[in-house]
Symmetry: C2
Subunit: 340 residues, 2 copies
DNA sequence: TTGAAAGCGATACCAT
DNA sequence: ATGGTATCGCTTTCAA
């Protein structure tokens, strides 16, 4: 029957053996033909290529991976994709990886608790390496080391078990912002932090508070959010209800935008005249005409490039030691903070 | 040397043979042990599991894929991830796929021209199926059919070569919006469309224009954008400079937000009193306090669920015919359009 | 229930 | 330059 014939055809759409038969050569010859630096006579190669094209043959990457122990796949693990900041990172990473001939196996966590299941899959799929923007326990980090899977942390760091990481330091950008606001006369600061268990969130908050302390401001009120717009909005409500403020420092842009909207629309405050608001990340919406947020932009391009370079170095040499690569952000003046 | 020993250990971290040796059974037994519905004695199983745990053994998915001809990987191909709408879709898809025990091989296109290279990789990696939110030529569609790779189009359709697809129809939502604005007295409409070669963009624009025609409004001015904020912003400038308007219909939310900002900040228009603006998609920023865009939200949850169901149906039965599944969006009244 | 053995589709070494 | 052959790590009959 036609149907059977079709599905038969379909299920085995060309292996190197089929190509070999068609070209009248050995299977080895076909294999060589698709490997760079092959040693195959021009005439033979032509016949093989022709046969391959007629069949629509493509080497089976799964089989290649099995024998070469190189899957040419890299796992990208991201904690919450819906965070406006990550799509840009993800796009950049996949783009760069694909230029290097490597495919992305994506894992998006809904909850951090899923990470063990994800790692289980990561081991099964024999990825050559992983770029992780999620919290890893020391045991989980050790597992990467034990299995010899290259690993680069993105905007996370590990202190117990050292690992390669690239991140954007909050401190430098923060210093600029805080100092600028202090110089401009701001004196009632508040901070909107991330969840207590978020390393990035804590680092940012601490950076700001420390700098403020150095400038003579202590007991800075703080509320925590979860990096979402709504949480920033609500945190601002709590802060502004608690007392007058003239500056809010948020741990990321989206919370800053929520805070701005709360201040403007619900408290009728003029920004930046009555209240300065600053964020961190440099996501696109923060620069929309209604916001023009004063913030620090993470150099995503350079950070992803670095992450990938580090990853490949470690794929090539699994014994390469840990290395932290720190980038500092670029100040985007915006129009939501009084800066001197 | 210790180094050599380590890397030796590392490179072969447990195969089923190692587990078998350790448990004193055959390799087949180990394999069965990890397959549901295995036929293995409880005692044996216990020994095997123990040995496997000690070694941190995980079945090699690559090898499994080779023999079973099932990679348990699905390709997700998305044209531009930076479009605010896609991260949500992607997150939803990966989540649902992983629940089904399937991994996502992600391909993010920078330019539609990259699609051929992407498909080349898709064939090599033996994915079980693909969900594609990008433009495919008839030849490319045919290739999926020829190779028996299950395919579901997401928010794209194919008319020349029929294929399974799920999309959100603009028409229904559009009708609500247009009729509402007409009833509320709007009478000078304009449209901001997507690129001319975008199928979704065209459908949305045509839906709106047709409905307006039915209501007695012809020669609707139109400008095209590329779905980005800036393009919406600029399009609004061109439209508003060309003549007075009291309603702008944009092909997506982000352009609508750009248009709003242009109208408010550069033309000093009150929204919705002087100008109604509506979008399409239902992205999160559109509901931020500064915007509260009147729009139609795509039922992403239902759409992704449907896409995945259709995909699995086609993985299980490659001969299943094409099917279009159309969803209609939910009106989000918002506060940027006068609706009766 | 268990083990032996034949593949899956490639690579790579070894002769020729 | 080419072909033969032994893997890679697993699944899956087929006997025992």
């Amino acid at each position: 029957m036609a149907g059977d014939e079709n599905s038969a055809l379909r299920s085995r759409r060309g292996t190197s053996y089929d190509v070999a038969r068609r070209a009248g050569v050995s299977q080895s010859a076909v294999s060589r033909c698709f490997r760079p630096g092959a040693s195959v006579a021009p005439a033979t190669r032509a016949r093989i290529i022709a046969a391959a094209n007629e069949l629509g043959y493509r080497p089976n990457a799964i089989a290649q991976g099995l024998i070469t122990r190189r899957s040419n796949m890299v796992a990208v693990i991201i904690s919450n994709l819906t965070n406006l900041y990550y799509p840009e990172v993800l796009a950049e990473l996949t783009q760069r990886l694909s230029e290097r001939g490597v495919r992305v196996l994506l894992f998006a966590l809904k909850a951090e608790s899923e990470i063990d299941d994800v790692l289980d899959q990561v081991w099964r799929y024999q990825v050559d390496g992983a770029i992780v923007a999620a919290r890893l326990s020391p045991e989980q980090l050790a597992a990467f080391h034990d299995r010899g899977t290259a690993l680069v942390l993105y905007n996370r760091e590990s202190h117990e078990v050292p690992a390669a990481s690239v991140s954007c330091e909050f401190a430098a950008g923060e210093t600029m912002l805080v100092d600028g606001m202090v110089a401009a006369g701001c004196c009632r600061f508040a901070v909107i932090g991330g969840p207590a268990d978020s390393a990035v969130g804590e680092a940012r908050v601490n950076g700001a508070i420390e700098r403020l302390g150095r400038a003579g401001f202590d007991d800075i009120p703080m509320e925590r959010g979860d990096f979402s717009y709504d949480s920033g909005y609500r945190a601002a409500h709590r802060l502004l209800n608690a007392g007058p403020l003239d500056a809010i420092i948020a741990a990321n842009d989206v919370m800053a935008l929520g805070a701005m909207d709360a201040a403007r629309h619900d408290f009728g405050l003029d920004i930046p005249e009555q209240l300065s608001v600053v964020g961190f990340d440099g996501v696109a919406p923060a620069q929309w005409r209604s916001y023009r947020l004063t913030t620090v932009r993470q150099p995503v391009q350079r950070m992803t490039a670095a992450a990938i370079t580090m990853l490949f170095e470690r794929i090539d040499d699994p014994d390469l030691g840990p290395e932290r690569r720190l980038f500092s952000g670029d100040l985007i003046p915006g129009a939501t903070a009084r800066l001197a």
